[in-house]
């Protein structure tokens, strides 16, 4: 069983985003595809899965030329894809999502007991036994939805399984389960194409690694014959001398002080402070309650008990607008649902939080707005560079994320709360983001960096707060912290 991608080219409108990409693999391989945001990974995958047509080039499966006109053709050929974006039907049970179009029936009617049994089987086989097939897909956390997506893809016993950043929303045991699954599939001689920004897992899993930069394959190699540093350099096209910035000077006075903050069912008795000029990391297991805390600090949900002080003065935000005008900003963890307006242009999205800021009379000063937005696009190196007028939906995941950061930086916040800001973001871009928040901190801002990435949560911060079951379970200075310590705080069950 062999798959070959030969000299594939693809252009959107006038912009060519793939300039002749080659890729090959055979049953049992795990071909990792890595590259910077906007490099063309998802596009390549959309072509493999029949979702996009290729302009030129060829796809060969077992010596047969594939002509994929629709995802359906791809599935018929045995190629199944789990997309970067979740596609479950939130209103239907997990069972129906898994067996969509293949529900067992008796006398024309659906046989629910049999259906649930089969769904159960699929989940167990995939190693995701924790999920109850009878729940609504919409009621699962993103992580769990992702697992159902994968189980669904396996249900049709594909010969090629394509995974686009499956680990972006997975963590811990879920991730381990995924890896175990991938290994089982390898033994079943399935070819796996695996897109990820997590070089660690790439080097751990892959049998071969394809590095794409700006739509061309710059190198095809194997884990044994390369290093993370080399990969990063190849992806970025330049040497990233240092990932995390130098230590910052001793922070200034207390900017944000949280005391005994609680929201029953979400988080309990949370206390911490942010000082001017410091970056504080917040680690925790998915579901620990960090996002809820962030949303509450930002005035999106009401404080049940406890106090929040800004510059020593108690504040109580009843809506995000209040928090923003007080100098807070929140980059949410869920780009598509709460981060951007897909139907609008990049410019409209970047300007969204500052519509009132640049006006001439009652009207928006279009010229100044354009200028400031273009500055941001340049500053964050958002690709393609002339995207201001494009709908943000056409940008790659990482570039969308940068646009959202740009939106908030325009609002000129003093306290910046980032919830998983580097999810699905490539290393070079991460470095940009670390730099940006570092400069912000140095200019007297305070940053709360919520992240599930141990290395980053320690490396990019001054202190690390750890959350477990909605409570702060520990705090460590980053310069002395070890990953095991932080992890320990996050999982150790209370005595």
């Amino acid at each position: 069983m062999t798959l070959e991608v030969r000299a594939v080219r693809k252009a959107y409108g006038s912009v060519e985003v793939l300039h002749g990409v080659d890729l090959a693999g055979s049953g049992g391989d795990v071909v990792a595809v890595v590259g910077a945001n906007g490099a063309g990974k998802s596009t390549l995958i959309k072509i493999l899965s029949g979702a996009e047509s290729l302009d030129s080039g060829e796809l060969w499966l077992d010596g047969q030329r594939l002509a994929l006109r629709s995802p359906h053709d791809a599935q018929a050929a045995g190629i199944r894809t789990v997309y970067q974006e979740l596609t479950l039907i939130s209103g239907l049970s997990v069972t129906e999502n898994l067996l969509l179009g293949r529900m067992p029936r008796r006398a024309g009617l659906i046989d629910w007991t049999e259906a649930h049994r089969r769904a159960r089987g699929l989940l167990d086989e995939a190693g995701f036994s924790g999920i109850d097939p009878a729940t609504l897909a919409g009621d699962l956390t993103v992580a769990r939805q992702q697992m159902v997506e994968i189980a669904k893809a396996l249900a049709s016993e594909p010969r090629v399984l394509v995974l686009d950043e499956p680990s972006a929303v997975l963590a811990g045991s879920d991730l381990d389960a995924l890896f175990a699954l991938i290994r089982r599939l390898q033994e079943r001689n399935v070819l796996i194409i695996y897109v990820s920004h997590r070089l660690a897992e790439v080097t751990e899993l892959a049998t071969s690694i394809v590095v794409i930069r700006d739509g061309t394959v710059v190198k095809t190699t194997e884990p044994a014959r390369t290093s993370e540093d080399e990969l990063i350099t190849l992806m970025a096209g330049r040497k990233l001398e240092r990932i995390y910035p130098d230590a910052r000077p001793e922070p200034g006075g207390e900017l944000l002080a949280v005391r005994g903050l609680s929201r029953p069912g979400e988080f309990e008795d949370v206390s911490f402070t942010l000082r001017a000029g410091e970056i504080v990391g917040m680690f925790g297991l998915v579901g620990a309650g960090r996002s809820e805390l962030a949303r509450c600090l930002f005035g999106d949900t009401r404080v049940a008990s406890g106090t929040v002080c800004l510059d020593g003065a108690p504040v109580r935000f009843d809506r995000p607008a209040a928090a923003i005008s007080a100098g807070l900003a929140l980059v949410t963890e869920d780009r598509k649902r709460t981060g951007m307006v897909a139907s609008m242009s990049v410019r409209d999205n970047i300007a969204l939080a500052t519509l009132q800021a640049r006006k001439r009379g009652p009207l928006i000063d279009r010229r100044r707005q354009k200028a400031t937005v273009n500055d941001m696009i340049a500053k964050f190196d958002i690709r393609p560079g002339d995207c201001a007028a494009l709908p943000i939906a056409t940008l790659s995941g990482g570039n969308q994320q940068k646009s959202i950061l740009a939106k908030w930086l325009l609002a000129g916040p003093r306290v910046l709360i980032l919830d998983e800001p580097t999810r699905g973001v490539d290393m070079a871009t991460r470095v940009d983001i670390y730099r940006t928040i570092d400069t912000l901190a140095r200019s007297g801002h305070a940053v709360l960096l919520i992240s599930s990435d141990l290395a980053e949560v320690i490396g990019a911060t001054d202190r690390v707060l750890v959350m477990r079951n909605g409570r702060i379970s520990g705090e460590i200075r980053s310069d002395v912290a070890t990953e095991d310590q932080v992890l320990g705080y996050s999982i150790r069950e209370a005595a």
């Binding site: 293949r102 529900m103 729940t135 009621d139 811990g172 991730l175 297991l285 998915v286």
Partner: protein
């Protein structure tokens, strides 16, 4: 740098929005509860505030009067579940009514009625093909259909047709004991429809399409086919309603049925259906139909003046969906 992640096994699935609910074929039954409550209240109010209400005649009237809205509401629900809407049902009622009355001149009554209903199905299928085939906005397509089909009804006969053959009235007037035949037919439609939507692959596909058409397509289910089917069902219900109405009134008018679609839609939404698609239950839609019928009956029995009736009806509908929403909120 390694980036390992962990999660506590305890991090189980269900989030707040579903806590404490049971599911049928994977869809929540909450709105139903609220409706039942609402209905009990309404009935109590009416039984106490008016003496006419519980009289057999009035109850029979109620049963008769909910048939048209009921049939249209079921068809509308199916369409709404796909994320669409069918504004043309009122015109289809007019067209099928007048055609059925016109045809019995040359055809046996059952055949004439069958032909009329078939015409209704035809209109529905055309709507569906335009919407699914060219992916046009259902609102506009069926809006255009509303105009066109109304026009065709007049083209077929400018003047009302009052068949002399008493057999034509039997469908609309026959009683099974205290219950009108037409009401029984409506119940049958709702029961069959309920099973169709919750227990058959096609029914579930219709729900799924309303949820995420793209995913359904990838699952190898023909979205087009099922959307067309949905509008076909709506057309069938409208056709049946048209024939029944003509037979009940005893005279078929090309001008009948204006704004019928609005009550049907209102019934579905009162029943907690989401116009975005994917959410809604047959039971609850039926509840919505009953609520509307009770409101009308209440206002009539209290002899509220016509214009005030309109004013109050609007206000009551808002009140009802407010209660619905509140209850959903509390659960969420």
């Amino acid at each position: 740098m390694t980036s390992r992640r962990l999660t506590k096994p305890a991090e189980a699935t269900a989030t707040s929005s579903s806590r404490g609910l049971r599911f049928i074929g994977g869809r929540p039954i909450t709105p139903m509860g609220v409706l039942v409550f609402l209905l009990v209240v309404l009935v109590a109010v009416m039984a106490l505030s008016t003496d006419g209400f519980l009289s057999e005649r009035n109850l029979t009237n109620l049963l008769k009067q909910m048939v048209t809205t009921g049939l249209l509401a079921f068809g509308m629900l199916v369409v709404i579940l796909t994320g669409g809407i069918d504004l043309s049902v009122g015109s289809v009622v007019a067209f099928t009514g007048i055609v059925s009355a016109g045809l019995i001149a040359d055809l046996p009554i059952p055949v004439a009625m069958a032909v009329a209903i078939a015409a209704g199905i035809g209109f529905g299928l055309i709507n569906g093909m335009l919407i699914a085939g060219f992916n046009l906005a259902p609102f506009v397509v069926t809006l255009a259909a509303l105009t066109t089909i109304r026009g065709l009804a007049f083209v077929y006969s400018e003047v009302p047709i009052a068949p002399s053959d008493p057999g034509f009235f039997s469908l609309g007037t026959a009683m099974l004991g205290p219950i009108p035949l037409t009401t029984v037919i409506m119940f049958a439609v709702f029961i069959a429809g309920g099973i169709f939507l919750s227990q058959t692959p096609a029914g579930r596909a219709i729900y799924a399409i309303g949820g995420n058409a793209e995913t359904v397509r990838l699952a190898g289910i023909s979205v087009r086919k099922h959307v067309v089917l949905a509008y076909g069902i709506s057309g069938a219900c409208a056709g049946l309603a048209g024939v029944i109405l003509a037979s009940r009134v005893g005279i078929a008018q090309p001008s009948v049925g204006v704004a019928f679609e609005l009550d049907a839609i209102a019934a579905c939404v009162i029943g907690g259906a989401s116009l975005a698609g994917g959410r809604g239950s047959v039971k609850a839609a039926f509840g919505g139909v009953v609520v509307l019928a009770l409101i009308n009956n209440l206002l009539n029995l209290h002899g509220v003046q016509s214009y005030w009736q309109q004013v109050l009806k609007g206000l009551i509908i808002v009140a009802v969906i407010l209660v619905q929403r509140r209850s959903q909120r509390r659960r969420a």
